[in-house]
Amino acid sequence: MPLMHFLNSASSVDVSSEAAANAEVTLTDALGYSGLGVGIVFAVLVVLMAFIALMSALLRGSDKPKAAPAPKAEKPAPAPAPVSKVEESVPVSAPDGAMYVTLDGKKHTVTVVEKVPQFTVKLGGKVHSVDVEPVEEVVE
């Protein structure tokens, strides 16, 4: 085995299988084997440790996030139409797209412009935001 030949030449201990298995192991030999054994375990695990460090560095290097694109300038949201004095009122039964609101005691027909995110209606050519709340009774 290449490793054993290397160890034989690099140390004074004969670590070939035949020599070790058949010969009586002296305390000096035992010390030599022990030292070599610890050295081999450390050597193999240090090689593995170095491999892990290299692998992690390479993989983490390739996983680095690419430069983020410049953030797009957000379109300014259209400014909501100024809310006139539309009394917060109630939707009543009406054909889709039309409803009534009471304003200063008078009932007006309005057209629904938008339901989400803000309920908006058109009244007299102007767009108004309306807070919708559930009601118990329908006002006619």
Binding site: M4, A21, G35, G37, F42, F51
Partner: protein
Amino acid sequence: MNVGQILTNLWESSGFAALQWESYVMIVISCVLLYLGIVKKFEPLLLIGIAFGMLISNLSLVEGNALYHADWWVGEDAVANGVNYGQVLRKGGFVDILYIGVKTGIYPSLIFMGVGAMTDFGPMIANAKSMLLGAAAQVGVYVAFFLAILLGFSGTEAASIGIIGGADGPTAIWLTKSLAPHLLAPIAVAAYSYMALIPMIQPPIMRAFTTKKERSVKMEQLRNVSKAEKIIFPIAVTVITCLFLPSVASLLGCLMFGNLLRECGVTERLSDTVQNALMNIVTIFLSISVGATAVGSSFLALDTLKIIGLGLMAFCFATAGGVLFGKVMYKLSGGKINPLIGSAGVSAVPMAARVAQLEGAKANPSNFLLMHAMGPNVAGVIGSAVAAGFLMAVFG
């Protein structure tokens, strides 16, 4: 019809006639081990099988009906000319047939496959330095080897005894079945018994070599390990270790194959089988056949007591080696590494890591060392296999 003669023949063919005083002692020992496994829950998955194998082999010693024939495996003829497998298959008992898996090294390798499939190598990959702790704890193997030589054991026997310090049952069996098969029973019993006793053996040593300040160190959270790293690692370890030490290819190859099945993400069925069904089946076969080798006439010897004593020394030195190297890393890291995790380098996954966690939590209740200790723990499995591979290469 001679009723007396018939009764005499019946008596002579019964198990009672073959019982000797050693058999009674072994039956008592097997009952004690069964008690420890069932009541005290000491490594029950293995100890109960070992104890039961010990029980049945010492009850069935009648020629022609024996479950296990020690002479066929470790007798002079077997040592000189090799095992006669034809005889084993034609005339062998139940345990003889099972024992083929031990003798050929199949069971330890399959157990390693299961261990690999059940173990997350992530903590070790996340903290690669922890591999050094797994290496340092193998000092116990070589100290026990040296002491065994000092006590008069041969090189092959001392190597088999030393590997008990690896705290890894399959590795100990794998090495011993080749180098010193006649010592397989006491070495296996010692290895598994001490593994079960790790929660009692390690803490006093851990406390003796560390200060409360060192035990209280809280370690930084480990980084996340990518799936690619977890897949590449077992393949690379197989390549590196098999090139360095081909003798250990079966053990580490199976360990890494099991881990690859777990991590690759496309073999869930195989991983599940290896972790559960295969592991359980092999554990049953291994434990019964190893236990059955503990026949009174060979087990009850002075050498067994020496082996049990040396095994304890091996565990103690392995723990001390890991903790002392942990102290070195504590100093070098500026107090960032808790030296207690070094004790987990003795292998014995995951019990040794749990012991490190418990001791760390005793010193500092907010301490959580388990995942940090799993790094050296897994490195210890690899380290003990490498240590066994070296001894096999030298003495095999």
